[in-house]
Amino acid sequence: MAEYYSSFEPKGTRWFLQRLTAGFLVVVLAYHFVLLHFVNHAAEITFAGSTARMSQVGYFSTMMLFLITATFHGVNGVYNALVNQGIDGTPRAAVKWLLATAGVMLIVQGTRVSLALTNLV
């Protein structure tokens, strides 16, 4: 027998955010790909080129947002997939914190990289 929902979990929020971030990612990911593989050929990427791009505030903030949404989307996606697969109880809590930590670390590291690529600081 199925049970009533009773925890504090914000019901469909994770589902909803997954779609919301996806919508955003469609645009940015496509942009990212085109820019760094077609416009600028991947093999020709240099520190200087990257820095030049990153130093524009607009580009920088887009990339930061890209990083955050992508990380959230990816990590949340993995978590959702595992939950749907029936992971429950302690393993679930463990996975949740593991993924959250990994996500945060990724964002922190990503931010550090981005900052290193700017001449803003």
Binding site: A2, Y4, N84
Partner: protein, 290 residues
């Protein structure tokens, strides 16, 4: 290979050989005295222009020789308009009366005979033999425990159906003795398809998510919840309550929009569409709090 068991082809004529002594003795003598049906089968087979082979999953926890699942082959005379159910009935009545399957209405309304036919969930009575590739392979519904032959345990399915409060609830009924509640046509149209469910369980059996998560409400139960949640006669508080039910941990969010439920539903209910609509309704009603 759809069912991971060794396929053991046993022609009906030689079936007794394969069986163990205890059941063999009774089978042999039963066969002899049952000559009547055998004879009829032979006549019909020789009269028939065409015959078709059925491969049927067999299992019985009590009978020697059937404890290990196997497939039996039956050759039945093909007639125009013959359904899978007709073929099974012919095989049962003429060759092996222990062949077990549920069926009743023969017209796709009782939902008893959802089977796994040639690799997909279908109602035996609603599936024309002529539309299938021969030989036709008939198995019990996947993802359900087999009680015997083609009969599966439906309890779990019923539990899921009944867990969504599948009954009309309203506080305000019209006061006049013979007054009905009003419902506009558009609203009845909206719920129409969802009310057609015959509880056959085909959708549930076809859903990979339901297979992996036993607590998942499953497409049929969610559709049942939809049928009430979308019915204007119930009132807003009730809709809220219904959304709470389907939003639970193993409710709508589990659905991965695989569509196989929608594809197999013999009543053509757009299950995925209904599930998605409920997801959106749920998100909408949650956003209200923000």
């Amino acid at each position: 290979m759809s069912t991971q068991i060794p396929e053991q082809e046993t022609e009906t004529e030689t079936e007794t050989d394969a069986e163990q002594e205890s059941s063999q003795t009774r089978r042999v003598s039963a066969e002899r005295t049952r000559a009547g049906m055998d004879q009829r089968a032979e006549d019909e087979l020789s009269d028939a222009d065409e015959t078709v082979e059925l491969k049927v999953f067999r299992y019985d926890p009590e009978v020697e020789g059937k404890k290990e699942p196997r497939f039996d082959s039956f050759e039945v005379p093909f007639t125009k308009g013959m359904t899978v159910l007709d073929a099974l009935i012919f095989a049962r009545d003429h060759f092996d009366s222990s062949l077990t399957f549920r069926h009743s209405c023969r017209q796709a309304i009782c939902g008893s005979d959802a089977l796994f036919v040639n690799g997909s969930q279908r109602l035996g009575c609603k599936t024309q033999m002529a539309d299938l590739e021969w030989p036709v392979r008939v198995e019990p519904l996947p993802h359900a425990e087999v009680v015997k032959d083609l009969v599966v345990d439906m309890e779990h399915f019923y539990d899921q159906m009944e867990s969504v409060e599948p009954y009309f609830q309203t506080e305000e009924l019209p006061s006049g003795e013979l007054d009905e509640q009003r419902q506009d046509r558009a609203n009845r149209e909206e719920i129409k398809m969802s009310t057609r469910c015959i509880w056959c369980g085909a959708c549930m059996s076809s859903c990979n998510v339901a297979a992996g998560d036993n607590e998942y409400l499953g497409p049929a139960a969610i559709n049942k919840a939809y049928r009430f949640a979308m019915d204007d006669r119930e009132g807003e508080d009730m809709t809220e309550h219904r959304l709470n039910i389907i939003e639970q941990e193993h409710g709508v969010w589990r659905c991965q929009t695989q569509f196989s439920c929608t594809e197999v539903c013999p009543k053509d209910i757009p299950l995925t569409e209904h599930i998605q609509e409920l997801k959106r309704e749920a998100v909408k009603s949650n956003l209200k709090f923000w």
